[in-house]
Amino acid sequence: MTWEPRPLPKPTPETEEFWRAATEGKFLLSACRECGLTYHYPRALCPDCFSDDVEWREAEGTGEVYSYTVMRGVSGWPESSLPLVYAHVELDEGPRVITNVVDCDPDEVEVGMPVEVRFEETDREDVAVPVFAPRED
């Protein structure tokens, strides 16, 4: 099973490396060499200091649930991926990212739950989608 028919991300010159790295099992964050900020989403200019001296930094892929909701129905969403856990995960590196929590009973998800990244393949060779699953501490 691949990600489709859920919507696919549209890579842009600024973000295509993020999606491509995901096909290799890497979650990339952006980092500013000028001021040290580690940030998400990818941007060519640092959103704190506007420096363009920025680089990719591979995240560990671990974190915890910052917030979430369980969606029982989303129009246009495949039945097979409902209910859907829409969540914000705080990565150990700091940034909080929007994602899905998968591979668990939606009723067991809670704020603070430890999670780790995994990657869903898509029909596009250069795009994989990071999601998060419960992590054993």
Partner: protein
């Protein structure tokens, strides 16, 4: 404070319709424009500035050009600020600035939309991917609903806010809506009704959500010279503040809104504080929107919104902070999925003593109107306006 030319709201009109399958959206814009001009005792020929926001998700673009054409407006100034639902509160402030700057004297602001007839929900549908951000959000099922639900969930986690406390907000709105003959839902509900309604995005229940209605509204903002030339009782624009809140590069904090910045800006401009507010129109796309905004505007401390709203605090006419006496977006009207317009209109009604009698706040001198456009879970525009009775 430096002396500034006072600016006034001279006309306010809310379309009575909540479902308009037989009308075009442009017709609704024109009908509310005529209604607000009639209310002010002005004509279309008096209008020299036009303010409206686009509706990119389901309407034609270029709204001000198309609508100026449709209505035959001849204007010297236009503003199309689009903060979603808060746009129209913003337009009041922008019109005041333009008038003070001598650019115009009679500013018309219109809103119209037909999401109900056109079967657009404001809820659980994934949007098309347009922006860079969409590729990191919509692909995961980001919808209006999910993006407010995560804010509620985090607020509950940090502060112990309960579903019953959120329900108090719906209860107050429904108590008010029973007196509004145009309200979409007029039956009062209880806390039990709200928390036993269907869970649609944990922790939000069906009755935590606003209505989806067709309709519109309009305002006429005028200079002091115009106000002196007309008979109608006007309402002074005392202060206005805006803020844009977003994900902050990943330092996302879902427990507060942009009202934490727009509120103090508006209060500072007016030389007033939360204790001076007799009536508040607070954007109510969801109950959580109200709860967080009340805290952020300083009506209570951060995290204490839950206990603040208990015990009828929000219920007119006798609660400490009577809010949304028209029934708000939760029960009465959320025209075009955008509620900022009705927030200003009901504030004007309260200050003129023209609210529905059972919910009219006695001797209301200062009213607050607050808009939240976009979503608490990603990015939104917050706009606060303070309005005062002309003879205060």
């Amino acid at each position: 404070m430096t002396a500034r030319e006072p600016v006034f709201v001279a006309g306010a009109f809310e379309h009575p319709t909540r479902e308009a399958p037989e009308k075009s959206t442009m017709q609704l814009h024109a009908e509310v424009a005529r209604g607000a001009l009639d209310d002010a005792g002005l004509t279309k020929d008096d209008v020299d500035a036009y303010f409206t926001a686009g509706m990119p998700w389901y309407e034609h673009g270029l709204t001000p050009l198309i609508m100026a054409d449709y209505m035959g407006l001849d204007v010297a100034y236009a503003d199309t600020t689009d903060y979603g639902g808060s746009s129209y509160v913003s337009h009041v402030g922008h019109a005041a600035s333009a008038i003070r700057d001598g650019k115009c004297d009679v500013a018309l602001v219109t809103l119209a939309g037909r999401p109900r007839s056109e079967s657009h929900t404001s809820g659980a549908s994934a949007s098309p991917l347009r922006t860079m951000q969409d590729s990191f959000e919509v692909i995961y099922g980001a919808s209006t609903l999910s993006k407010y639900a995560v804010a509620a969930q985090r607020h509950m986690h940090e502060f112990g806010t309960t579903s019953e406390q959120l329900a108090e907000i719906r209860v107050a709105a429904s108590e008010h809506a029973q007196h509004n003959e145009h309200a979409m839902y007029r039956d009062p509900v209880t806390v039990e009704d709200v928390v036993s309604s269907r869970m649609i995005a944990d922790p939000l229940h069906l009755l935590d959500c606003c209505v989806v209605s067709d309709g519109g509204g309009a305002l006429v903002v005028v200079s002091d010279d115009v106000r002196r030339a007309i008979e109608r009782e006007c309402v002074e624009v005392l202060g206005h503040g805006e803020a844009v809140k977003h994900l902050d590069a990943g330092r996302t904090d879902l427990t507060y809104t942009g009202a934490a910045d727009s509120g103090p800006r508006a209060f500072a401009e007016a030389g007033l504080g939360p204790e001076d507010v007799d009536y508040a129109s607070i954007y109510d796309s969801f109950t959580i929107t109200v709860l967080q905004t009340i805290e952020d505007l300083g009506f209570c401390a951060k995290g204490e919104g839950g206990s603040f709203v208990e015990g009828g605090t929000l219920q007119a006419p006798d609660g400490d902070l009577p809010f949304n006496t028209d029934g708000g977006g939760l029960c009465s009207n959320h025209p075009g999925n955008r509620g900022g317009m009705t927030k200003v209109i009901e504030a004007v009604r309260q200050l003129r003593g023209e609210a529905n009698a059972p919910v009219q706040v006695e001797d209301a001198q200062v009213a607050l109107a607050h808009g939240t456009g976009g979503s608490l879970g990603t990015r939104h525009g917050s706009v606060t306006a303070l309005l005062g009775r002309d003879d205060r």
